[in-house]
């Protein structure tokens, strides 16, 4: 399969940048999942959708808004009523899910090309994200695994906490380069490493 | 009352300024008048002034809930222009512009109308064509408008980012040279003094709490200072139209009330001479004679009667002003305030007889109200005096919506927050 070209390529500068004082405050990476899939259940069929996700991917989602689960190579979370986002390093998850989700439960939309996945991690990850989003990123308010939809001005973003100090951001591909650049600027004062 | 002049200033200075008289009387309300105007803002006061001056109707009371000019006439960004696209708008605002040009003399009160020009920046060729279409419409209707290319814009407004590297490069600007700014409070005070000198009663701290009716007909008002009867009652309370009309039993109107914030920076030595508007967002800015930059942007975009704005809009406006003038980032915001706007369904005003017999309605100014002050009062006075609209406000009816004869300058349809 022909590999996807990243929208970040020209601005992708691996290495350390900004004010590094004994280690980078954050690390920025593009996780480039093979599959990014949106699932939308009809009202009343949310449970069935979660079951379908489990059967197709093995990821079992807890109930409740924003509930999610993150594993090494795949993750999923709810981001709107009856709607879920699934990311898998492997390609083809969309097809698998399309098989598992009947039209009576809901619909599957493949966004593997349409969203760019950016990971920010490190001791200052919360601090840097707080510059962009009016979201309380503290662990009690936003536990590991959970996800949400928010926006930084014109850039719509879905965010999942995939670790105590690690967040995966999904932004529209066309905005990814601008957003990445802004993320780098915001990280300068704490020092950042691009990997 | 004494004429104002340089001589009067000198004479009074010699007597230690002890002999100045009040700019307007503070009479108690009479039991009845020929005409009552509800609302002692710019439009209400100018209506009273022109009723007296143009139609000889002087047995008039202006009822103001608070102090004169406490509404939007004292809460705007003082811009006066007539750079409109649609024929109905051009006709009306051009008439207003002509009144502005002689207003200080007419009122014997310096309203400091300064024709320093209003420049609308365009940032794409498509937007340029749009603006030029508007400018051409103005010229063909006898108004004034010029097109400045990028270089000319740069010379006309130093400090403006006219570089090609700007996020939204300036491709040109539509200039209305006769447009400019005026001292907003002075407009209210000048009209009040002018009306007072012609015998009109300006009654402050007089809140209308109900309407007097005979059957359908409005025959006066109930106020916190008692009943006042009148042959005709004009309502000019933009910002509170919904509240006042409710007292007359009218619940629904093609109007939403929204708050518009305005801002002033600390006082600076002259930085910008004309009014400049940013086309890649929503921002207009000028500099007052006291040196403060006066500017504003869009609405907060939700219904409100509270004169308080919210933070996101403040941030939006400051982002745009810094994009337009990068040198202003170190200038500081000194004051902000909010005014409540009558946002109509097509972005244009309503000046009409009715909707009830004996009643006349002047409303829906969105944020075009200040520059309209003279013509609004002039046309409303005409409509009240003659019981029919003048040509300049004939289109500003209430039924134009149901008839689909819309005056939609922005092409946004029935979404008031976007006008």
């Amino acid at each position: 399969m022909v590999e996807q070209v990243s929208p970040l390529e020209p601005v992708w500068k691996p290495g350390s940048h900004g004010r590094i004082l004994g280690g980078a405050g954050v690390t920025l990476t593009e996780t480039r999942p093979g599959s990014i899939v949106q699932l939308a259940a009809w009202p009343g069929h949310e449970k069935a959708m979660m079951e379908a996700i489990r059967s197709a991917t093995g990821l079992s989602l807890a109930d409740g808004g924003g509930a999610g689960v993150a594993e090494a190579t795949k993750a999923a979370f709810g981001f709107a009523p009856g709607k879920f986002l699934l990311a898998d390093q492997a390609e083809g998850a969309g097809a698998a899910l399309a098989g598992a989700v009947g039209i009576d439960i809901g619909v599957v939309t493949d966004l593997s090309h349409g969203r760019t996945a950016i990971r920010i991690s490190g001791p200052k990850a919360e601090w840097v994200l707080a510059k962009f989003f009016a979201i309380d990123f503290s662990i009690p308010a936003f536990p590991v695994g959970s996800g949400l939809s928010t926006a930084h001005h014109d850039v719509f973003a879905q965010v999942q906490r995939t670790g105590a100090d690690q967040f995966d951001l999904y932004v529209f591909r066309s905005f990814a380069r601008s957003f990445w650049t802004a993320l780098c600027h915001a990280s300068e004062e704490v020092g950042y490493e691009v990997r | 009352m004494a004429e104002y002049s340089a001589f009067a200033l000198l004479k009074n200075a010699l007597s230690g300024n002890k002999d100045w008289k009040p700019a307007w009387r503070k009479p108690a309300p009479k039991p009845s008048y020929d005409v009552i105007i509800i609302g002692g803002g710019g439009h209400g006061l100018s209506t009273a002034y022109y009723l007296a001056k143009e139609h000889g109707i002087t047995n008039v009371a202006v009822l103001e809930k608070g102090y004169l000019g406490s509404g939007n006439v004292g809460r705007n960004t003082t811009i006066v222009r007539s750079n409109y696209l649609l024929p109905d708008s051009i006709r009306f605002y051009e008439h207003s512009m002509k009144l502005w040009e002689n207003l200080s003399h007419d009122l014997n009160y310096n309203v400091m109308f300064s024709q320093r020009g209003v420049l609308n920046l365009a940032h794409t060729p498509g937007q340029a064509d749009d603006y030029i279409r508007r400018g051409n419409a103005m010229r063909l209707a006898g108004g004034d408008a010029e097109w400045l290319n990028t270089a000319e814009v740069g010379r006309f407004v130093p400090g403006l980012d006219v570089s090609g590297s700007a996020r939204f490069p300036v491709v040109g600007g539509l200039l209305q040279p006769r447009a400019g700014t005026a001292r907003h409070d002075a407009v209210a005070w000048g009209y009040a003094r002018g009306a007072d000198r012609r015998g009109v009663d300006m009654i402050e701290n007089c809140e209308v709490i109900g309407f007097l009716r005979e059957g359908d007909r409005i025959v006066g008002v109930q106020t916190n200072r008692g009943e006042i009867r009148a042959k005709k009652v004009g309502v000019a309370v933009a910002g509170s139209t919904g509240r006042v009309m409710k007292l007359a039993g009218i619940e629904h109107l093609p109007i939403e009330s929204h708050v518009l914030q305005a801002f002033v920076s600390e006082s600076l030595k002259p930085f910008v001479d004309s009014v400049v508007t940013f086309g890649a967002g929503h921002l207009y800015m000028s500099q007052s004679d006291k040196g403060g930059l006066v500017f504003g942007g869009g609405l907060d975009e939700y219904n409100t009667y509270a004169q308080r704005g919210n933070l996101p809009l403040v941030e939006e406006v400051m982002s745009e002003i810094c994009a337009m003038f990068p040198a202003l980032s170190r200038v500081r915001l000194l004051r902000s305030w909010g005014g409540v706007m009558d946002m109509s369904m097509d972005g244009s005003p309503i000046i009409t007889k009715g909707p009830l017999p004996g009643m006349y309605l002047n409303s829906g100014w969105c944020y075009g109200g200040f520059k309209a002050t003279p013509a609004s009062g002039w046309a409303f006075a005409w409509t009240i005096a003659k019981d029919e609209p003048h040509a300049i406000n004939a289109a500003y009816t209430l039924d134009r919506f149901s008839r689909g004869i819309l005056i939609d300058e922005k092409g946004q349809g029935a979404t008031p927050r976007l006008h």
């Binding site: 709107a80 709607k83 926006a151 | 629904h252 093609p254 975009e301 308080r308 919210n310 996101p312 369904m345």
Partner: protein, 100 residues
């Protein structure tokens, strides 16, 4: 201003889009009741006080919310999903409906 989205929790004003007066009733699509259409599109209640309005959480879950908010104090009394709110109005035009 902060709106407590039933799905996302409390979020800043900046994430929401005002969608106007929630008191209006859209006539059935096939309706020829002109005044009703006119009222739906152009008439506003615009109260000074509690107001039923519709907001979209456009910068979040994109749900439409039925909000009761005071237009004098901006105090928000209640927030719920429009679709749970019975905001369906009198529009009987369902997929089974014969209106079309």
């Amino acid at each position: 201003m902060i709106i407590n989205c039933p799905y996302c929790g409390p979020r800043d004003l900046v994430e929401f889009t005002y969608q106007g007066d929630g008191n209006r009733t859209r006539p059935q699509p096939a309706s020829q009741d002109y005044p009703a259409w006119n009222a739906y599109i152009y008439d506003r209640l615009n109260p000074a006080g509690d107001h039923n309005e519709i907001w979209q959480h456009s910068g979040g879950c994109r749900s439409h919310l039925a909000v009761v908010r005071n237009t004098l104090t901006h105090e928000i009394k209640s927030v719920e999903f429009v679709r749970d709110h019975g905001h369906r109005k009198s529009d009987g035009h369902r997929k089974t409906g014969a209106a079309s």
